[in-house]
C-alpha cells in the first residue's frame, strides 16, 4: 500500500477563524493522513520553512478573512525561492468564486470553498500527493 500523504495545514496572516481548519485536520487524520497543523497567525515564511523541514506532500492554507490572494502569492513565491516549488499548495475557506481562476493562475493547485464535501478534498489531496511522489 502506498504511503499516506503528509499535509501541512496553516492559517496564514492574522485571520482568527480556525474552527474549520481544525475540523479539516481531524477529518484528514481520520482518513489516515499525517497532518501537521501549525495554528493561527502564521507568517508565510514559517509555513514554507515548516513545509520544507517536515518534507510534506501538500500544503493546505485556510483563509476566511479575505487575505487569500496576498498570502497565496507570498507562500508560492517563498516556496519557489527556497527551491520547493514541487510542493503543491491548496487553499480552502471563504472566498469569492471570482478569485478561483486568479488563485489557479498564481499556482494554487486546488481550491475548496466552504461547503466542499470532505470526500472531494481528500481525493484531491491524495491525487496531488501521489503526483508528487511519482516525480521524486
Amino acid at each position: 500500500m502506498a504511503r499516506q500523504p503528509k499535509i501541512l495545514l496553516a492559517k496564514v496572516g492574522l485571520d482568527g477563524h480556525d474552527r474549520g481548519v481544525k475540523v479539516v485536520a481531524q477529518w484528514l487524520r481520520n482518513a489516515g493522513m499525517e497532518v501537521v497543523y501549525l495554528g493561527i497567525h502564521q507568517a508565510s515564511e514559517a509555513i514554507v520553512e515548516t513545509a520544507i523541514q517536515e518534507d510534506v506532500d501538500v500544503v493546505g492554507l485556510s483563509s476566511l478573512a479575505g487575505g487569500h490572494l496576498v498570502y497565496a502569492q507570498q507562500v508560492l513565491t517563498l516556496l519557489s525561492e527556497r527551491g520547493a516549488k514541487h510542493i503543491p499548495v491548496v487553499l480552502g475557506g471563504t472566498l469569492p468564486f471570482e478569485d478561483i481562476p486568479r488563485l489557479e493562475a498564481l499556482g494554487i493547485r486546488a481550491i475548496f470553498p466552504a461547503g466542499t464535501p470532505a470526500a472531494e478534498f481528500q481525493e484531491k489531496i491524495r491525487e496531488l500527493a501521489a503526483g508528487r511522489e511519482g516525480r521524486l
Partner: protein
C-alpha cells in the same frame, strides 16, 4: 443529481414520497409529531411566563413590545479606510437603517496599527482600519453621533481604545458624553476561543472590560457597556442550550468583576445586553431566546439580588447565523436569512443584523447589504410579524421546547459553575474543548447528510463561477495606503504631547487594577496616539509584550 429520464422516474417517485427524516431539532433535541396541553401541564402562567414586561419576562422585556419601538435595524459595516466605511454608513442611513454597527479589521482586533509589519496585508480587509482618533473622526464624519445609536462590533482590547477615541471625538465636537447612545460588545473573554486570545490575556481583558463598564456607568448612561457574545460561540457549532448557558455564564463573569470593583448590581445590569445568534431552526431559536429571558431574570434576582426591573431583563441583539450560509447557490442564503430574522422578531429581539447573501463569499456589496436591510424592513412593515408581543407564546410545542432548552442550559451552567465559572472553564481549556467537539459534530452531521443543506449537500449544481450582484473588491495597494497614512500621522502630530499622554497612561496603568484607564486613554487618543501605542503601553504595564505579535519592541517612554 440524476435525471428522471435515465432512471425511469424512480427519483420522481422517491421525491413524491419523501418524508421528514430528521425529527430532532438542529441542536438534537427530540420532538414529537404533535403537542398538546399535556406537554406543558406543569407550566404556571404567572410564575413561568407572565405578560410581556413582567417578571420573569419570558414573553418579552416590554409590555408593548414593537408597538413601543421596533427593533433597531442595523447592518454590520466595515471595510477599507475609515472614509470608505463612512461613505457606506451614510449610504445605509439613506436606505433607512435605524442604527449603525461598525466592525474593525484583524489589525484592529489585535490592537496593532495599520503600519505594523504584519498589518499591511490585512489593512481594511475584514473590517475598517482604525489606528487613531484621526480615523475615528473620518469614520463618523457628518454623522450626528448625538442622535444615532452605534454598535461597536468589537471585543478585545480594541474596545477600550475605541471607547476612548469615540469619547474624545464627541468631546472635541462639543457633544455631551451622556447623550451618546450605543453598544460596545466588550466581551474580552470570548476572544480566548475566537482566534485572538494572544492579544487579549484573560486578566487584562477583564480589567479593561470593567473599566468600560465603570466609565460608562458614571459618564455615558445611555450606552450599553457590553454584550455577551453568544453569537460567535454558536457559530462554532454549539447547540442552542449551550449557546444560552455559555452566554449567561459569560455575562455573570463580567457582572461579578464589576461588583468586585465596587459597582452595584443595579448600576451595572441595566446596561448589559446580549448578542445572540438566530440559526436556521425557526422554533428552536424562538424557544431558545424565550428560555434565556426567563433564566436571566431569575438568575439576576435570586443570585445577585437585583431589584431594578431593567437588571432582570435579557435584552438582545441578533446576528443571523453566518455559519448557516453557504457559498454554493448563494441566493439561497437570502431565504435563510429571512427565516432567521423572522425568528428574531418572533422572539422579541431589540436589534437585528441580517447577514448578506454573500456572507460566506466575502464582505457585502452595497447591493447585497441593501437586500439584507430590505429583509428587515419587509419584516417590520409588511409581514405583520411585529404586530403582537410573543406571538408563539402559549403554543404547546414552543412552550415545551422552551422548557427543554432551559432545563439543558441550566445543567450546563451548573457544570460551568463547578469548573470555576466561565473564567475557570476557559482557563482549564474545557470551553475550547466543548466548542471544538461541537464544531466537529456539526460538520460531521452535514458531511454525512444527517443535516440537509440545500445546494451544499443536497440539490447540488455545478460550481458557480461568479457571485450574483458582484463581489466586494479592495482596491490594489489598500494596505500600503493605510500604512502610509499612519506613518504620516506619526510625523505630523505633536509627538511631545503624545509621549506625555502615554507616560501618564503608563503611570496610571501601573497604579493598580482599580484605577480606571479610560480617562487617560481619552487624553492619549486626543493627542493622536495610535491604538497600538495606547494598548502597547497598557500591555507592558501589565507584564505583557508591547506588541501582541512579538515583532515591535516597546519604545522608550
Amino acid at each position: 443529481m440524476a435525471s428522471n429520464q435515465s432512471n425511469g422516474g424512480d427519483e420522481l417517485l422517491k421525491a413524491y414520497f419523501q418524508k421528514l427524516e430528521r425529527p430532532s431539532t438542529w441542536s438534537g433535541l427530540p420532538t414529537k409529531p404533535v403537542y398538546s396541553p399535556a406537554d406543558v401541564s406543569g407550566l404556571d402562567y404567572g410564575r413561568d411566563l407572565n405578560d410581556p414586561g413582567e417578571f420573569p419576562y419570558a414573553r418579552g422585556v416590554h409590555a408593548d413590545m414593537y408597538r413601543g419601538r421596533l427593533w433597531t435595524r442595523r447592518e454590520v459595516c466595515g471595510f477599507g479606510s475609515a472614509r470608505d466605511t463612512n461613505q457606506r454608513l451614510r449610504f445605509q442611513i439613506a436606505q433607512g437603517v435605524s442604527g449603525l454597527s461598525v466592525i474593525n479589521d484583524n489589525n484592529g482586533s489585535l490592537t496593532i496599527d495599520a503600519d505594523h509589519p504584519m498589518a499591511v496585508a490585512e489593512g481594511g480587509v475584514q473590517g475598517v482600519s482604525v489606528s487613531s482618533l484621526r480615523d475615528m473622526e473620518d469614520l463618523f464624519a457628518e454623522i450626528p453621533i448625538d442622535k444615532v445609536s452605534v454598535a461597536f462590533d468589537i471585543s478585545g482590547l480594541d474596545c477600550i481604545a475605541w471607547m476612548a477615541m469615540y469619547a474624545a471625538m464627541a468631546e472635541n465636537r462639543g457633544v455631551d458624553l451622556a447623550a451618546l447612545r450605543g453598544t460596545v460588545q466588550n466581551d474580552t473573554l470570548h476572544f480566548q476561543f475566537c482566534g485572538y486570545g494572544n492579544s487579549c490575556p484573560v486578566d487584562l481583558g477583564l480589567k479593561s472590560s470593567v473599566d468600560i463598564i465603570e466609565f460608562c456607568t458614571r459618564r455615558m448612561p445611555r450606552w450599553y457597556t457590553g454584550n455577551a457574545n453568544l453569537y460567535d460561540m454558536r457559530e462554532n457549532g454549539l447547540t442552542a442550550p449551550q449557546e444560552v448557558a455559555f452566554g449567561l455564564s459569560l455575562a455573570i463573569a463580567y457582572i461579578q468583576k464589576a461588583l468586585e470593583r465596587g459597582l452595584d448590581v443595579d448600576e451595572v445590569a441595566p446596561r448589559r445586553a446580549f448578542y445572540c445568534s438566530c440559526h436556521i431552526d425557526l422554533f428552536e431559536e424562538v424557544a431558545k431566546l424565550r428560555a434565556a429571558r426567563r433564566m436571566w431574570a431569575r438568575l439576576m434576582r435570586d443570585r445577585f439580588g437585583a431589584k431594578d426591573p431593567r437588571s432582570l431583563q435579557f435584552r438582545f441583539g441578533v446576528h443571523t447565523a453566518g455559519v448557516s450560509l453557504y457559498p454554493q447557490q448563494p441566493l439561497n442564503n437570502a431565504i435563510r436569512v429571512a427565516y432567521e430574522a423572522l425568528a428574531a422578531v418572533l422572539a422579541g429581539a431589540q436589534s437585528i443584523h441580517c447577514c448578506s447573501y454573500d456572507e460566506p463569499i466575502g464582505l457585502p456589496t452595497e447591493t447585497s447589504q441593501t437586500l439584507a436591510l430590505r429583509t428587515q424592513q419587509i419584516l417590520a412593515y409588511e409581514t405583520g410579524a411585529a404586530r403582537v408581543a410573543d406571538p408563539l407564546g402559549g403554543s404547546w410545542y414552543v412552550e415545551s421546547l422552551t422548557n427543554q432548552i432551559e432545563e439543558k442550559a441550566l445543567q450546563i451552567m451548573d457544570e460551568i459553575e463547578q469548573r470555576g465559572g466561565m473564567v475557570g472553564a476557559i482557563e482549564s481549556g474545557w470551553i475550547l474543548n466543548e466548542i471544538e467537539s461541537a464544531a466537529l459534530r456539526r460538520q460531521t452531521e452535514i458531511e454525512t447528510g444527517e443535516k440537509v443543506v440545500v445546494g451544499a449537500n443536497a440539490f447540488r449544481t455545478e460550481r458557480e463561477t461568479s457571485t450574483p450582484g458582484g463581489i466586494h473588491e479592495a482596491p490594489a495597494g489598500q494596505g500600503e495606503a493605510l500604512a502610509a497614512a499612519v506613518r504620516e500621522l506619526r510625523r505630523s502630530r505633536d509627538n511631545r504631547r503624545v509621549a506625555e499622554a502615554l507616560r501618564d497612561l503608563h503611570a496610571q496603568a501601573l497604579s493598580g487594577e482599580r484605577v480606571n484607564l479610560v480617562p487617560s486613554l481619552i487624553e492619549a487618543a486626543r493627542s493622536y496616539a495610535t491604538v497600538g501605542e495606547m494598548m502597547g503601553t497598557v500591555r507592558i504595564a501589565y507584564g505583557q509584550p508591547y506588541d501582541p505579535m512579538g515583532v515591535l519592541a516597546a519604545p522608550r517612554l
